[in-house]
């Protein structure tokens, strides 16, 4: 029984659980939360050393649903990256995990997100990427594929923004992509990110069962469609199952989404070397050209120092320093006064 199994620091899996989820049943976000808990458990990380951060959105609600023994900060929309930068220099001894959405990160939060990566702020940053604004009922996000169709028939005519591409050129030092249902791939990637010092970006495709609605949808779930009333269909969400996948490195994996549309995942092979920027960019482009999503650790830079280190901060976290360290002696003020007399 999982309940009994303990990790190196003697914690059970349930010690990594959180409050009950309020996501729609079958939402990819819940599957990701499961992988997050698994990763922390497997890596035997003390929840009390962890801080959870998020912005606003369905995805951003999820940190409340894991690691209830960790402090959490559900900030405002799009500002998680800046808030994380602040918490990080205030206390570099804590391990930050951030969960955001494609709207939160790639729309309102894009500028701050880019600058966080430029600074290589230490964080495990998960983008739960569903191509829509779930919490505000299904508008397109900046990562929605060009040409995809929204509930109501609206067509997206802007190209999709690629979180990984952005991460690579802006200076993130650990850039990976996965699929919410691929726990075997996802939780090790999260463990790697947690172990990495610097900005670790995980772009995780996470289907929104309620609002993801590509052209494929007409083909699918005929009965439900016919019997759903047109005006209020968002008011009713059928119970979907989470989509799980499990496939080999170097292979393709087609995935049928809840609405019947299809995406193809391609898992990077063992031979792939993630330490070259140009290679990484090419790999992404190549996959896109074939209409596939590349998954796995796409780019990795073990050398660049993280932000707090660049700042030459003292060992003790700033948050733990006392007045005797923080307040210079009065003599120093007298000396400055003297200078100001000239």
């Amino acid at each position: 029984m999982a309940g009994e199994k303990v990790n190196r620091i003697n914690l059970k899996e349930k010690d990594y659980e959180g409050a009950p989820s309020t996501m729609c049943r079958g939402c990819g976000h819940d599957a990701i939360s499961a992988s997050v808990m698994r990763a922390f458990f497997e890596s035997s990380i003390d929840p009390r050393k962890v801080i959870k951060l998020s912005g606003i959105g369905c995805s951003s609600k999820t940190p409340a649903y894991f690691l209830s023994q960790s402090f959490g900060f559900n900030a405002v929309h799009g500002r998680m990256s800046a808030v994380a930068t602040g918490t990080n220099i205030a206390n570099h001894s804590l391990m930050p995990i951030g969960v955001s959405g494609d709207g939160d990160t790639a729309a309102i939060g894009l500028g701050n997100f880019c600058h966080m990566m430029r600074r290589n702020v230490n964080i495990t940053y998960i983008v739960e990427n569903n191509g829509v604004y779930g919490l505000t009922k299904g508008q397109f996000s900046a990562t929605a594929d060009k040409g995809s169709v929204m509930k109501g028939g609206k067509i997206n005519d802007n190209p999709a923004l690629d979180i990984c591409e952005l991460g690579i050129i802006l200076g993130a030092t650990y850039v990976a992509r996965s699929f919410s249902g691929d726990r075997k791939q996802l939780s090790p990637l999260i463990q790697g990110a947690l172990a990495h010092k610097g900005s670790a970006i995980l772009d995780v495709i996470s289907p929104c069962v309620t609002f993801n609605n590509h052209e494929g949808s007409t083909k699918s779930m005929k009965y439900v469609k016919e019997h759903l009333d047109p005006i209020h269909d968002i008011d009713f969400i059928p119970h979907y199952e989470n989509i799980e996948v499990d496939y080999k490195e170097g292979t393709d994996q087609p995935v049928e989404l809840h609405d019947g549309s299809r995406i193809v995942l391609h898992k990077l092979g063992k031979s792939y070397d993630p330490t070259s920027r140009m290679h990484a960019m090419q790999a992404i482009h190549a996959a896109v050209a074939e209409g596939k999503f590349l998954t796995g650790l796409i780019y990795y830079d073990p050398n660049r120092a993280e932000f707090a280190e660049e700042m030459n901060l003292c060992e003790t976290p700033l948050a733990e320093l006392d007045q005797d360290v923080l307040q210079p002696p009065a003599e120093m003020l007298d000396r400055i006064n003297a200078e100001l007399m000239k």
């Binding site: 900030a75 405002v76 918490t87 700042m311 307040q327």
Partner: protein, 616 residues
């Protein structure tokens, strides 16, 4: 020939920015200061880097008044672009000093003033070796000319040069030559004037410092334990953050490592969000900005208010709205600070008025932020923040930081022994202030989930109407509690005096002088210096105790008056607003003028006048 007034003089120096006049002006000002003469300076500079008009106004005042003087006795006319206007800025009987390397243009001649020419351009051709630097030295020439005319002795100037450029003898040399040249020229010409003389006052300024409010705030913040500073450049607030950057390395290193972190953020939203994150994580965090930045920070401020995170915002006010006049002074962001962000919010504001209060309030601001677990504003303006003010030395009150209600792991254990459980947002003490724990607290009961959305006393997500109303009421109660803690106004009061004046911030000094002038002309006034928001009982009593109250503020819409009206409408109707908002440092004369205008018109006249003024 009667003897001229001693040490009562105002000099305005008109130049072009980027031509190096700032160092000449600095030498001149410091020299007068070194003579022991009480003096102040106001720098009116443009919002670009080179080639636009700039004015530097020095005032020497035997009585020690520091406000910008409303009349200009001497105009140094070194900027052709503004000369035609500048000649009329100087008072009748005043003096104009100009570069007569070329003959004075006819349109620059006027009656009722003395013209003294000094061929600065010609002189530097002779004495300064050819180099791009030449034009810069031209400014030192008028320093010498003024020194001769008003009696600043060259030795004092040498000392100043020594103090400033000690490490660069070449600089001292080249400057001195030019100053001397200006001095000698006036002497040879035998120019004399009789409008004022500067006279050394032994120990006059002994022990006094000269600094800017932004520097004083920066030092206050550092000594107050500020550890995370995130900012985005904007005039006139940049120099505050940059002063922090300048002093931190000397003051806050621990075996070679920094006990602070300064981040130049990518924008103000990031700066504000970073300090909210940092404050939540348990450090004393601050930012500094001006109007446009404040507008952008509104959302993060609301988050800090509702999630109850301590952090400090230094707001150096400039001419608004929008980009407005970035290099001019104003007090027009008061309401935006007080009501910042959407929803029902009210914020704590500290209001320094001199260098000491800049230092002290900057230091204390973190105590208030942590005590009340809320954003705190330090309200500054360009005049206070960027002009040079002479002051008593800054003094560090030795008192422990007030970290407010923080629970350690041990304390939580003790509580539990007493059967008391930590609840992040529960009002244990009935003062509206809850207890908080800091991330990293090892007690398994210490962690909580912070959010800007609705929550209950245990920090759980809640949409329940009772939880919501309870939170709002507690926040308001916390604000009411703060009234007892914030700095009280400073009241100067004489029995029987029926006229009161209320001022705050950089208006204090001109008002102080205005009261002396009014007294001289027969009007006794009492005074209340506002030092913080929310308002406190003392202000109410002051309103009750007087028949007419003049509230002086540097904005158009009487913003502070509006806040007073919100508290005590029936009393506030006694208030007559003195409103000055041309972007220049407030002058004594304008305050006196407006007050007299009211008295002439009487109470009714006042209203009409204000009506007119608003839509004039």
């Amino acid at each position: 020939m009667e003897t001229p007034p001693i040490n009562d003089l105002s000099i305005s120096i008109a130049t072009e920015n980027g031509t190096g006049s700032a160092s000449a002006n600095n030498v001149l000002f410091k020299a007068i200061f070194k003579m022991g003469v009480p003096c102040s300076s106001k720098n009116m500079f443009p919002s670009n880097i080179q080639g636009l008009p700039t004015w530097y106004q020095i005032r020497a005042s035997a009585e020690g008044y520091m406000a910008r003087k409303d009349v200009i006795d001497v105009m140094v006319m070194f900027n052709d672009a503004t000369a035609a206007k500048d000649i009329y800025r100087v008072r009748d009987g005043g003096i104009i000093i100009h570069d007569d390397s070329n003959p004075l243009a006819s349109n620059l001649k006027r009656d009722g003033v003395q013209y003294f020419g000094v061929p600065a351009n010609k002189l530097i051709q002779k004495i300064v070796p050819a180099s791009p630097l030449r034009i810069k030295q031209r400014n030192m020439v008028y320093v010498g000319a003024l020194a001769y005319l008003f009696g600043i002795d060259i030795e004092t100037i040498k000392e100043v040069l020594q103090d400033t450029f000690g490490k660069k003898p070449a600089v001292i040399e080249s400057n001195l030559v030019c100053i001397q040249a200006g001095f000698n020229h006036m002497k040879e010409k035998g120019y004399t004037q009789n409008i004022a003389r500067l006279q050394t006052i032994p120990n006059g300024n002994k022990g006094k410092i000269i600094t800017e409010g932004n520097t004083a705030c920066a030092l206050g913040a550092i000594f107050g334990g500020a550890s995370v500073v995130s900012w985005y450049p904007i005039t006139p607030s940049s120099s505050l953050a940059e002063a922090v950057e300048h002093y931190m390395p000397r003051l806050r290193k621990k075996d070679g490592k920094a006990t602070y972190a300064i981040v130049q953020a990518e924008d103000e939203i990031a700066a504000a969000s970073m300090i909210v994150g940092a404050g939540w994580a348990g450090v004393r965090a601050m930012t500094s900005t001006s109007g446009p930045g404040l507008s952008l920070m509104n959302e993060s401020i609301g988050l800090a208010y509702f999630a109850e995170v301590p952090c400090v915002f230094f707001i150096i006010q400039r001419g608004g709205p929008s980009t407005g006049l970035p290099t001019r002074t104003q007090q027009a962001d008061i309401q935006l600070m007080y009501y910042a962000s959407h929803g029902d919010t009210r914020h704590l504001i500290l209001i320094p008025h001199d260098m000491k209060s800049c230092f002290d309030m900057a230091r204390r601001s973190f105590d208030f932020a942590e005590r009340f677990q809320t954003p705190v504003f330090v309200m500054m303006d360009l005049d206070l923040g960027m002009n040079l003010w002479s002051s008593e030395p800054l003094k560090l009150e030795k008192e422990p930081f007030d970290r407010g209600k923080i629970l350690t792991a041990e304390q939580i254990e003790q509580w539990e022994k007493q059967g008391k459980k930590f609840r992040r947002y529960f009002d244990f003490d009935g003062d509206g202030i809850p207890y908080r724990t800091l991330p990293g607290n090892p007690n398994r009961k210490a962690a909580y989930f912070t959010r800007g959305s609705g929550h209950d006393a245990d920090a759980r997500y809640s949409e329940d109407e009772k939880d919501y109303k309870e939170t709002l009421d507690r926040l308001r109660k916390k604000f009411e509690t703060a009234r007892k803690y914030v700095p009280k106004p400073a009241v100067e009061k004489q029995e029987g005096v029926k006229t009161g004046i209320i001022s705050f911030g950089s208006s204090y000094e001109p008002v102080r002088e205005a009261r002396d002038r009014l007294r001289a002309s027969g009007l006794k006034t009492n005074h209340l210096l506002l030092r913080a928001l929310p308002l406190t009982e003392e202000t109410k009593e002051f309103l009750e105790a007087h028949e007419v109250i003049y509230l002086v503020e540097q904005n158009r819409d009487a913003q502070m008056a509006s806040i007073v009206k919100d508290e005590w409408p029936e009393l506030a109707s006694k208030i007559t607003s003195i409103l000055v908002y041309d972007g220049l440092p407030l002058t004594t004369g304008e305050v006196v003028r407006q007050i007299n205008q009211h008295r002439a018109g009487g109470r009714k006249g006042v209203q009409e006048w204000q009506e007119k003024k608003l839509i004039a």
